[in-house]
């Protein structure tokens, strides 16, 4: 994942669960194309997260409320968001397993931040500077916490890839 991520913002409220992100009725989910197409399909918004014309999302950064990703621990939820085009979720809080899945799969950067935004943010340009540890909306800058050992995991494309890299580099026996 790049160090500097720029793109348009989407907004989700509180307690958006993994069923809304990749509903069970579409199981088996099929290929990546198909999974991208149903990302957040049950989250009602205008415009929707995924543009039905392209099957992709015009949004790169999702602002969310409390407990984003609650519900069952399906890994297809963060995968769907990422395949559709999202790279970052900035939430007031995350459900624990969803957060772990984002990092372990290395597909979404989950930033925990008590941001001031609501639906009004949709469509605005956002820049996230990972190593600088801030995100920017217009002229407003917000500093988030240190990702510590998580950034190399996300960068490696997930936990198992990271482990393999470390073994190959001789860092682990």
């Amino acid at each position: 994942m790049e160090n500097i991520i720029t793109g348009k913002a989407f907004y989700c409220g509180d307690f958006v669960d993994t069923d809304v992100m990749s509903p069970g009725r579409f199981e088996p989910f099929g290929d990546d194309e198909a999974l991208a197409r149903i990302a957040l399909i049950d989250y009602e918004a205008n415009p929707p997260f995924v543009d039905p014309a392209t099957g992709r999302s015009p949004f790169t950064v999702i602002f969310a409320g409390e407990e984003f990703g609650c519900g069952s621990s399906r890994e297809t939820a963060p995968m769907a968001l990422a395949l559709a085009g999202a790279k970052v979720v900035i939430a007031r809080s995350f459900a624990r397993i969803f957060f772990r899945n984002c990092v372990n799969l290395g597909v979404i950067l989950p930033i925990i931040y008590d941001h001031p935004y609501d639906e009004g943010i949709v469509g605005q340009e956002v820049t996230v500077n990972v190593e600088g540890r801030y995100f920017q909306v217009g002229d407003k800058q917000y500093t988030f916490g240190d990702f510590g050992p998580l950034w190399p995991i996300i960068n490696a494309g997930g936990l198992t890839n990271y482990t393999k890299q470390r073994i190959a580099a001789g860092e682990l026996a």
Partner: protein, 424 residues
């Protein structure tokens, strides 16, 4: 670095990550002291372990891994049997000696972890099972993780964490007769709801906790996950030390305590004398009522189930047996007792409790997870009702979405079995 007051969970994470101290919200990589998996998870872990890390890959430390067969033994079908065979193979390939297959030394993973001395104060302990929060009863950090996490722990002995916020649950005073740890945790869940401790630590303090027996402490920590907690934890007490001395053969332990000036994110208080037996109604463990309320509704039951890592430890069965001794289960009720481990099973036999239970009308099954999660016996018919000493009563958890499961303590289970309706 300025001094940050630490909770016991903070101190365990600091030590495991080689730091002096940690701050809430910090991300860190911790060295894992002990971990385990069970039959439903091992087969897939084994498959990816060799696929990702190579056919000759070795686990980081075979002495720090335990393997349990508890969910699907004895096998109910060929698929279940293949899970057990995969585990046999993995234990052999990796020289894992803390292996407890179906036989004379098996039982439910969480009970076995404690009973066999694989839990020590101050340790980081992980399992591929959400009720791994149980180990906080012995002042350890215990938490459940996913298969991907465990796959990497097996290879590296390390895993990343976020230092959680800590909620204090203080209970003071003496519990009334007939009130058990199960009632405390059900009361708490009703108050904070299933999201109430999401990703946080539930730390228990107060004189009631200090005086609680080791296995009652396990019950409390075990169900913290029903509130969404990352872990449950408490300071050691004499009963817990005595339990661990027997289980581990050790005399002293590296206990951790919370700094007096540590700031909890939330504080909850209960006066023990004011607590009563509680019942969780279908289909959520936080859907609780007092026993007085439940009793007034005369809820008829078809089955009473005494089992699981929550409700089939030795003390649970002692409480149940004491209560039902000399009485008989109401006609038509299936009274199923599933001891948590073979050691408990044997003790029931040696102490004559088996006789008492059988005289009351109970059928004593072999140890395991069984009806707790609906995959292995004890399934109810449509509209049928079970009163259970387990921990979850989600729709269909016991095998039939059309049935209703009520959760309560072993004492309430015994009284209910005799009366035929939920009572104390």
């Amino acid at each position: 670095m300025s001094n940050i007051p630490q909770s016991m969970t903070h101190k365990i994470m600091a030590r495991a990550s080689g730091r002096e101290q940690v701050a809430t919200g910090d991300f860190l990589e911790a060295d894992i002291d002990m971990c385990f998996t069970h039959d439903p998870a091992l087969q897939i872990i084994r498959k990816y372990f060799y696929k990702e890390f190579g056919a000759d890959a070795r686990v980081w430390d075979p002495t720090r891994i335990a393997l349990f067969q508890d969910h699907l033994v004895p096998a109910k079908d060929a698929g279940s049997r293949h899970l057990a065979i995969a585990m046999d193979n993995f234990a052999r390939e990796q020289d894992i000696s803390k292996y407890y297959p179906y036989g004379q030394n098996y039982g439910i993973c969480h009970i076995m972890m404690c009973e066999r001395g694989h839990v020590l104060p101050g340790q980081m302990i992980l399992g591929t099972d959400s009720h791994s929060v149980t180990y906080g009863a012995f002042n350890a950090f215990g938490s459940g993780v996913g298969v991907e996490d465990m796959l990497n722990v097996f290879r590296t002995g390390k895993l990343w964490f976020r230092v959680p916020e800590v909620i204090e649950v203080r209970v003071e005073g003496k519990l009334p007769e007939g009130v058990m740890a199960k009632d405390i945790i059900l009361r708490l869940l009703g108050d904070i709801t299933m999201a109430g401790a999401s990703g946080k630590t539930l730390e228990f303090t107060g004189s009631t906790i200090e005086n609680l027996s080791a296995e009652e402490r396990m019950t409390l920590c075990n169900m913290t996950v029903e509130g969404g907690a990352k872990n449950g934890i408490m300071a050691m007490n004499d009963a817990a030390r005595e339990y661990l001395r027997k289980a581990t053969g050790r005399d002293s332990f590296d206990e951790v305590t919370t700094d007096p000036d540590f700031e909890y994110s939330q504080k909850i208080f209960y006066q023990a004398e004011e607590l009563t037996p509680m019942v969780a109604y279908p289909h959520r463990p936080d859907n609780t009522r007092t026993i007085a309320q439940a009793k007034s509704e005369k809820i008829k039951v078809n089955q009473v189930y005494v089992g699981s890592c929550t409700g089939a430890k030795m003390e649970d069965l002692e409480a149940f047996t004491r209560e039902i001794s000399g009485k008989k289960a109401a006609p038509g009720i299936n009274l199923i007792v599933v001891p948590g481990s073979m050691r408990i099973y044997r003790e029931l036999l040696e102490r004559g409790m088996m006789q008492t239970l059988m005289d009351s009308g109970a059928v004593i099954e072999s140890p395991g997870c069984k009806a707790c999660y609906g995959a292995h016996g004890g399934v109810l018919g449509d509209e049928e009702v079970c009163l259970s000493t387990t921990n979850r009563n989600f729709k269909g958890r016991m095998g039939n979405p059309g049935s209703g499961v009520y959760l309560a303590s072993p004492i309430v289970a015994a009284k209910t079995a005799v009366a035929g309706y939920i009572t104390d």
